[in-house]
């Protein structure tokens, strides 16, 4: 379970996120959507322990990211939007690095890594240096590695950037499978159709403030003449823009 408690982050005079308060239940896929520069990546980086909030707290399975970041991070599989990894390692060596880092036993590593590399279509490239991988392959490797220690919480920033249609379908299916097994997934995305397809609930953020949360049907009810998430998104973000 994820709890964001009154998160605020300012960059100088600019408020990146303001008083974000949110709970994501265990096994839920939560879609975090909003226009460019709304504060999605800032929120996600605070949740992953990359940034410190000015005020507020992140609780991951009731462990505070502020008070016990090491324990909190053990529960997370973080997938960033840009696949920067150690280019001089091979795919399998990178997986081994992550396994050691998260203290996955050797036996479990061999079993899980083979399964994940197969699943993400990287088994034939496992001994090639990562520097020779394409953007999409690197992104898939990061995803496979993030799932290696079987985390109860997955935090993903723009999961579909650089992926081909087959990989998009694969990731969608994997997220749903993990969600059924009880994994909590917090995902920021620009792909509204994906959010509509797999997210149990959606939160819309604009100008650093969480303007709406709920299931797709709840949001449809709150917005007039909304046929899908795209309509809801544009209605909510336009009205917010007009207000600001």
């Amino acid at each position: 379970m994820i709890k964001l408690v009154n998160l605020t982050k300012k960059y100088g005079k600019h408020t990146a996120i303001s008083n974000i308060h949110l709970t994501v239940n265990a096994g839920e896929i939560f879609g975090f959507i909003g226009p460019n520069g709304a504060g999605k990546t800032t929120t996600i980086q605070i949740m992953a322990g990359l940034l410190l909030p000015d005020t507020g707290n992140v609780l991951l399975s009731d462990i505070s990211m502020n008070d016990d970041p090491v324990q909190a991070k053990k529960l997370v599989g973080y997938i960033p939007d840009r696949p920067f990894i150690y280019e001089k390692l091979t795919g399998i060596e990178y997986m081994r690095f992550i396994a050691d880092f998260y203290q996955v036993s050797t036996n479990v590593f061999f079993k899980r890594s083979e399964q994940l590399l197969n699943q993400f279509g990287l088994i034939n490239y496992q001994n090639a240096l990562i520097e020779s991988y394409s953007h999409g392959m690197k992104q898939r490797l990061i995803m496979a590695s993030a799932l290696l220690h079987d985390p109860p919480i997955i935090i993903v920033d723009e999961p579909m950037v650089g992926l081909d249609p087959a990989a998009i379908k694969l990731v969608r299916d994997i997220f749903m499978e993990f969600s059924h097994k009880g994994t909590t997934i917090f995902m920021s995305t620009h792909t509204l159709s994906l959010a509509e397809q797999i997210c149990h609930r959606v939160g819309i953020i604009q100008n650093g403030r969480l303007t709406a949360t709920g299931t797709i049907s709840e949001l449809k009810q709150s917005a007039a003449r909304a046929n899908d998430l795209e309509d809801i998104f544009f209605q909510l973000t336009r009205s917010e823009k007009a207000e600001s």
Binding site: A16, L51, L52, K73, K88
Partner: protein, 578 residues
């Protein structure tokens, strides 16, 4: 021509539009100061040597011109070598080439714009730092305006010739071999060549120049190799230009300048023709080079480090593998090896037998001073390997930040990783030099113990300051040694081991008094010894703890700022703010 100008504009504008904050201005002033000092030292050294040669009757001029031709030949070889490496990067490996090749511009135009950049980048520093030697030559020989203007034109033309020859060499090779592979091969060959020259120069014992007995044999040797240089090498044209220009007003230098100018222009034309034929093909080939495969079965490191906790093992194995696969890193090992060979060799040829002091006394004194020298060697190694180790994480540092390891633990893991090899190396150095010096057991123990206490601090300072001044965006973090943080590290580490050794001078002085003057130690002496050694030990402990804490604090703050800057720089955020 307009297209070439347009392609060069971003580079020129970037040079002038760099924000000039107070801190940056301070940093630039600092480096300009260091650069000026080096320039002045080269000038002073050259001036002294040339003045010395001038005073040697009958063979003075011969030695001067022999030196000039050697410098020019070396300069030309280095210019070609540097131009090959730079051209490989600029013409085939730069990240922005994809974008540039997509522009509606002819490939030879792209080639020319990149070639101009490459020729400038590869030669300016070498020309700048060899110029003082040529200026000193002019001053010593009371040269006139003709010499200095010929010098300026010759250096410009030889840079263009070196750039032209280099691009002509590499374009066909890139069609056969991938550019990254060629760069590795050239870096490797260059290093071997440099180390070979460096080591053989030292083993030649150039100090014999100041020894009249040895001097005669060197002059004879030089005479024996005084065959005239071939007129087909461009460095000979520069040599002839400068030599004739030194003689006063004459038209002779213009002949050689004309040769150089025509050759440079011919090379540019030839390059354009070759570029039109094969540059794009070669570039395209570079983009589709086959990836390297590594055996995934290599379990040796995992077995070796199997008893170390997971996160430490992960970071250590990752760093070791990355180190040996990145030629910019492992090539430095050769340089360090050469440094150590010369260091040890110097001890083996020290002329203690010629000293007016007792050999026993001076050998032990040298052993004490050698602690400082060995500590400095360790600092130099630390600056090359330990200090940039945090920056080597590069953009992938998010993995460490989001991983279940605290920043402090991460820095301690890094410390341990470098401490183990460096403590072995430092003890090997000090023990070997002690054996070469035949020092007594007291000095042996003292130097071994001192190095054992100093090395953890030297490593901790490298890690701590490397964390406090990281550069995650650099393509070659090993160059961080010349950054502000790198110089701070050198300074702090030198101050640290200097203070510890200074504290030891008292006890060592008393030891010599006891040993040579049969002096008996008083209570005051014992208090002095205890106080000095305890304070030294205390400083050594602080030097391990404080830098790591400083590094942890600064790295955390820096990362917040960097992430903030990265988020601000994201294109979507910029457009949103507009």
């Amino acid at each position: 021509m307009k297209n070439i100008q347009a392609l060069l504009t971003p580079r020129i504008m970037a040079m002038f539009r760099k924000g000039m904050s107070g801190k940056k201005l301070m940093g630039m002033t600092f480096f300009a100061g260091i650069g000026s000092i080096i320039w002045a030292l080269v000038f002073y050294g050259s001036y002294r040597v040339l003045m010395y040669f001038k005073q040697v009757e009958s063979i003075g001029d011969f030695l001067t011109f022999k030196l000039l031709s050697m410098i020019l030949l070396t300069l030309f070889s280095l210019l070609i070598f540097s131009a090959i490496l730079t051209a490989l990067s600029k013409l085939f490996l730069s990240h922005d080439l994809g974008l540039v090749h997509a522009l509606p511009v002819k490939s030879e135009t792209i080639f020319l714009s990149r070639w101009i950049e490459s020729t400038f980048d590869s030669s300016w520093m070498m020309i700048l730092y060899t110029a003082p030697a040529f200026i000193a030559l002019g001053i010593v020989n009371n040269a006139g305006l003709l010499y200095y203007s010929s010098l300026l034109i010759s250096l410009l033309l030889i840079s263009i010739i070196a750039g032209g020859l280099s691009s002509l060499i590499i374009m066909p090779i890139v069609l056969i071999l991938p550019a990254t592979r060629i760069r590795s091969i050239f870096v490797f060959l260059g290093l071997i060549l440099f180390i070979g020259i460096y080591v053989s120069f030292r083993i030649m014992q150039p100090e014999r120049f100041v020894n009249p007995e040895g001097f005669a044999s060197i002059v004879l040797y030089l005479r024996s190799i005084s065959t005239p240089s071939t007129p087909m090498i461009p460095s000979t044209w520069v040599y002839e230009t400068l030599k004739t220009a030194l003689d006063g007003p004459t038209t002779a230098p213009f002949f050689n300048i004309a040769i150089m100018l025509s050759f440079a222009l011919a090379l540019i034309c030839l390059n354009v023709i070759v570029a039109r034929l094969i540059y794009f093909k070669a570039y395209s080939k570079t983009q589709t080079a086959q990836s390297r495969l590594h055996s995934g079965d290599n379990q040796f490191l995992y077995r070796l480090l199997s008893h170390i906790p997971g996160p430490a093992r992960a970071i250590m194995i990752k760093d070791i593998k990355t180190f040996f696969r990145d030629q910019t890193q492992w090539s430095q090992l050769f340089l360090i090896a050469a440094l150590i060979v010369i260091y040890l060799y110097n001890f083996s040829v020290l002329p203690f037998d010629k000293s007016p002091m007792k050999a026993y006394y001076i050998e032990n004194l040298f052993s004490f001073l050698n602690i400082a020298l060995a500590a400095f060697v360790m600092t130099a190694i630390g600056a090359r390997f330990v200090f940039p180790s945090i920056s080597h994480e590069g953009h992938a540092f998010w993995i460490i930040q989001s991983g279940p390891v605290s920043m402090r633990m991460y820095l301690w893991i890094k410390w341990l990783e470098y401490f183990l090899p460096l403590i072995v190396l430092s003890e090997l150095l000090i023990v070997t030099t002690n054996i070469l010096l035949h020092v007594n057991p007291f000095m042996k123990n003292l130097s071994v113990m001192t190095m054992f206490c100093i090395t953890p601090g030297i490593v901790a300072m490298g890690i701590g300051l490397g964390g406090a001044y990281p550069d995650f965006k650099s393509e070659n973090p090993a160059q961080a040694v010349t950054s502000f943080g790198g110089l701070m590290y050198m300074f702090c580490s030198s101050a640290f081991f200097g203070s510890v050794i200074l504290l030891e001078t008292g006890p060592v002085y008393l030891f010599f008094k006891v040993h040579f003057q049969s002096h008996l130690l008083t209570i005051v002496d014992w208090i002095w010894i205890t106080f000095s050694l305890t304070l030294g030990l205390f400083i050594c402990i602080l030097a391990v703890i404080l830098p790591i804490r400083f590094g942890e604090k600064q790295l955390t703050i820096k990362m917040q700022k960097l992430r903030h800057r990265d988020l601000e720089k994201e294109p979507d955020n910029i457009s949103e703010k507009k």
